[in-house]
Every structure is written in C-alpha cells, then in structure tokens.
Symmetry: C2
Subunit: 335 residues, 2 copies
C-alpha cells in the first residue's frame, strides 16, 4: 500500500505521506466553535473505522491548558480554523509542536498563520460566509474525512479511499437536491419559529456536531436565540422535562448507527410536544444517489447543516435580524 491509487487532494496526500514511518496511536482534533463542531463527525468516522487510533475532540484553549499528558511524539493533532487566524488555535498548534506531536492544519488559505504554524497545511473552501458557491468535495468536512480515511489506510491497513472520494464527488449534487427536499418544510416552519425565545437542536452520532454548530453559531450567534444542542439520548436524562406544547425543537434523523437514538427522541417529542413546533429533518427523505452506503451516515450532517443555513436566512428575514452583520460582539469589538 505504498502508492495512493486515488485522487486525494495534493495537500492532503502530502500530509499523509508526511506521516510515513511515524508511530501514531492517538489523534487530537482541536478547534473552536464551528470548526470544532466539524471535528465531531470526523471523530465519529475514526471511531467507527479505526481499531488502531483513538481520539479526542477539544476546544483549542481547553487543549492548551488541559495539556493532556498523552500528547507527544506518538500523537497527531489536527487543527482547523476557517480564516487560519483564530488565536486559540494558533496557540494550540504551537503547543502541540512543542510537545513533539505532528500537526495538520486546515484553513481557507495556505498562507494563513495556522497554515504556517503546522507541519502540514491543508486548504478547504467555505461557502457560508463568502456566499460564493463551492463544491462540497472542497469543504472542511470533506478534507477531514479524507484525512481520517487516509489514517485508517496507514494505521489499520484498510483502504476505503476510492468509495469515499467517489461519494464526496457526488455530494454537492445530493446537497443541491436536499435544498429542494426541505424547501417546503422550511417555508412552513420559519413563521412558526420566528418569535421563539428558545429553539433546541437534537441529534446523536455523526450528526451531533451539526446540531451543536447550528445551536451555537447560527441560532445563538447570528440570531440571538437561546439554544442548546441536546444529545438524543441525554435528552431522556434531564432535558426532556422542559418539553411542552410551546417548545421549539429541530430534530435531526440521520443514517448512521445511532439513528435509533434519534428516532426515540423524535417519538417522545411528537408525543408530548406540538407538531407545529417540532421540525424534523429525516435523511431518509434525501436522494443520496452516488453516495456509497458505508458513508451515507457520514455525509448527512454536512447536508443537514448546509440546507439548514437556508432556514436560518428565512428566519433572519422574518425576524429582521441580519445574519453575519447582526452580530454585536464578534469581529466588532476587542475581547
């Protein structure tokens, strides 16, 4: 398995080749906010596919101060920051290198501070803030999944890169179709949700990161709506007690192995909540042609997050609260 008989992106291929001969037994996925949210599905994929590599997902500043003793020459640290300028993530990269770990840094720019602070820089494209359409194969999710399955190839001797890359190549078309699938749902729920003081998101497994990101980076950050991403089973161990017919929830039903957890939460929400206030995104309604069965569960959170972005703009219009420009602290003041 010396040759990478696949069309991995050149920078990802170089990063993986850079690991040649290095013993790695643990991966730290490190980032902040929306970029940390994307690490969760990456860890899900690694957990499912690798017997050789365990992993952690840490907020960058937590990672630096916690400074796990296991961090060292036999660990890989994968960092991500869209702009590549997030201070906490830069410090995390420096900390990781000082401890002898190998570092891979993802950002939009191969000349960003993060890109120059790591051993191996990887470039991705982000659609949300620029408004310029991208192909999903160039997204942060896609790059992370390629890295993860590259690691599985190296350290577990299992090569699934071909079906992964084929699936990622067909993903943008699936996303475009998903926008049509959910358009009616979003049209229906935006007026129902526009005055809600609290909107919860619920998911598990590969989808939890998308639920987290939507709660903290979209609802809270861009619409000042109170929220929490509730894990679909943790829901039954406390959070479900807030449920009544007035409460608003966005429920994600994915296609990964934890779907039964999400189905159970959905059942409870529909039993005691109001159907007017429970917006269910069910990935079974999606046309995932061209996505390999093995990776369907993994691409669903990307589809959910991308399509829900449209829902956020609908909410923003009805609430007359601009999305990015509406922020009062982020990128407006020093802190």
């Amino acid at each position: 398995m010396n040759d990478w008989q696949t069309e991995l992106k050149a920078d990802i291929k170089a990063a993986l080749e850079g690991l040649a001969g290095r013993t790695i037994n643990h991966v730290f996925f490190v980032a902040c906010g929306g970029s940390l949210a994307v690490m969760h599905p990456a860890k899900y994929l690694l957990d499912r596919q690798s017997a050789a590599l365990t992993s952690d997902c840490y907020n960058s500043d937590e990672f630096v101060h916690r400074s796990p003793r296991a961090l060292g020459t036999n660990t890989l640290v994968v960092l991500c920051s869209m702009t590549g300028t997030t201070r906490e993530t830069l410090r995390a990269a420096e900390h990781a290198r000082a401890k002898g770990a190998t570092t891979i840094g993802l950002s939009q720019d191969l000349n960003s501070p993060l890109a120059t602070a790591v051993d191996h820089a990887v470039r991705f494209e982000a659609p949300y803030t620029t408004g310029v359409p991208i192909d999903a194969i160039d997204s942060n999710y896609s790059c992370l999944y390629q890295i993860v399955m590259g690691l599985v190839r190296i350290y577990d001797g299992i090569d699934k890169l071909r079906p992964l890359l084929a699936s990622l190549g067909n993903l943008q078309a699936a996303i475009d179709r998903a926008h049509l699938t959910y358009a009616g749902l979003f049209e229906q729920f935006a007026p129902r949700f526009k005055d809600e003081p609290v909107i919860y998101t619920v998911a598990s497994g590969a989808n939890y990161g998308a639920a987290y990101s939507y709660a903290i980076c979209v609802l809270m950050e861009m619409q000042w709506i109170n929220s929490q991403a509730i894990h679909a089973n943790e829901f039954f161990h406390g959070p479900f007690e807030v449920l009544d017919e007035d409460k608003a929830f966005i429920m994600m039903l994915g296609l990964d192995e934890t779907r039964p957890l999400e189905e159970r939460a959905k059942g409870f929400l529909e039993r005691f909540g109001s159907s007017e206030k429970i917006m269910v995104l069910d990935a079974r309604e999606l046309d995932l042609s061209g996505i390999d069965d093995e990776f369907k569960g993994n691409v669903v959170p990307l589809i959910f997050f991308d399509t829900l972005w449209k829902f956020a703009y609908k909410l923003a219009d009805l609430r007359q609260h601009a999305m990015l420009e509406g922020r009062r602290y982020m990128k407006k003041i020093n802190y």
Copy 2:
C-alpha cells in the same frame, strides 16, 4: 509496587487488582445524564495524570450504537448509574463485555443489575435524592478519582494515592464550610433568578461536568428552566452573542489549569451583562484546608455541585416548583 499501601475502598482495590497483568491502553467512561457528567472530571484527571491511558466519555446508548472499533480486550470500560438500573448503561456493560473489554460498574448497590453485569462492582453513596447526609469520600466522584489514580499507579508507575485519599478524607469538611461561604450569594441571587426563562452555566476543564449536570439535571429536569452548559472558551465562538443585561448566568471559576478560560468568560460576562444576573462561584473564596494542592482543582466541581444543590432548593421554593416530585415525565410515565 505490588502492595497497595493505602486505604483504598475494598471494592475499588479488588477492581484494580483485577487488572493485574492486563494490558490496557484506553478507557471508556460510560453513563447517562448526571452520571455521565461525573465522568468528565474523571477524564480530566486521567488526561492530566496519565501518559499511558487515553480515554473517551460517552453516553451509554451512544457508546453501544457507535461501538468504537478500538473497544476490545485492551480497553477498560468504567460505567456508572446511581440506581444501577439505567437500561442504556446495562446494555453498554453487556456490549463492552461481549467485545472482551474489562468492566467496572459504579452504583449505590452491590446487588444492582449493573453491579451484577460487570466484572468489578464498586459501591458509592449519593446524597442528593435520599436526603441522608453522606461523607464525600463515599461519593461517585471520590470512587472515580480513586479508580483513575489507581490506573495511573498501575499503567504509569506513579503513585499519588496517599495524597489523594488524604484529600478526599478532608473533602466533606471543605464542602460543609463551602455551604457557609456561598449562603449569602445564594440568598441574594435566588430572588433574582426565580423568574428567569433561561439560566446558562459556564465552566471549563474539571468543572465542565458540574456545569453540564446543573444545566440538564437540575435547571431543565427539576425546574423546567431552559439552559445550556456553555464551555468557557466556546462561549466566545458563538454563545456570547446572546448576552445582554437581561440574561442570567452561573459562572464557575475553579482551580484547575483551565481557570484562565473561566476568568476570561467572567470578564466578558461582567462587561456586557448585568452584575445582578451573573452569579459567580469562585473557588478561591473556599477554605480547602486538608486538600493537597495537586488535587484542589479536581475537588472543586464536587464542591460547586454540592453547594449549588442548595441554591436549586431555594429557587424551587420561590418558584413553588418541587424539585424531584415536580418532574412530569421521568419516573412518572413509560418511554
């Protein structure tokens, strides 16, 4: 280091001796809700102290369905359920054993279903639901910390059990003093918080689990107050945008290595929030006599959670919403 020259609880000692000769390289901490919350500080301690053992904290149902490929004969699974009857956690124990992992199960009863489903059962005492006073050395936190430092002794060859046990032996007195320290604060804030529709908790490091538990098991479950446990640095990557002078926060300032993250969040909360609505618990105000410096940060979350329980009862009185009896779904209906 064959002899355990310390007064470990007999069941914990037996569990650790049961690991003799077993190669373990990863620990899964597995539970639901409040019992999962306690696993986070255990992982924090293990991260800080062990270079040999990495770990994961998973909700029990997530653990079973995710079924990480690394789960196997070289892994230890530590499970916890107060009653020892939580179905998801029982299934997790069975799943772990079927995969060849060694299992340790903590519950209040050595004859509970969980105790009989695991290789090694450990008993702890819980004060919150029975109302009977306990000594903190018999709590779930204390048992977990003893297990963690026992693992560090076995797999890292570092024995800090004596100072740990001495610290845990002095913990109840520190908690009793803490109740007095915070009594005035709670008296002041209960009337201010009683009508709040949303109360957030904020913490990092060793304290995050206590913030999580207070948000989901106390505020949401027992008072039907909307909440989220916000990580102190993640706060700056989205959640802080909800902050204005009307928002209520419980801010925890601990003594572990991540305190600077909590201090930064506190500074921001006080800058843009109202001092009437930001309740700060600062562990520097505590008298921690008898607690070894090395473990001060680790015992703080237990002190916070125990004392905040009193705050919850004050809120409950003012809101005329009973704590345990006030639940509408948990232990009242089948789901």
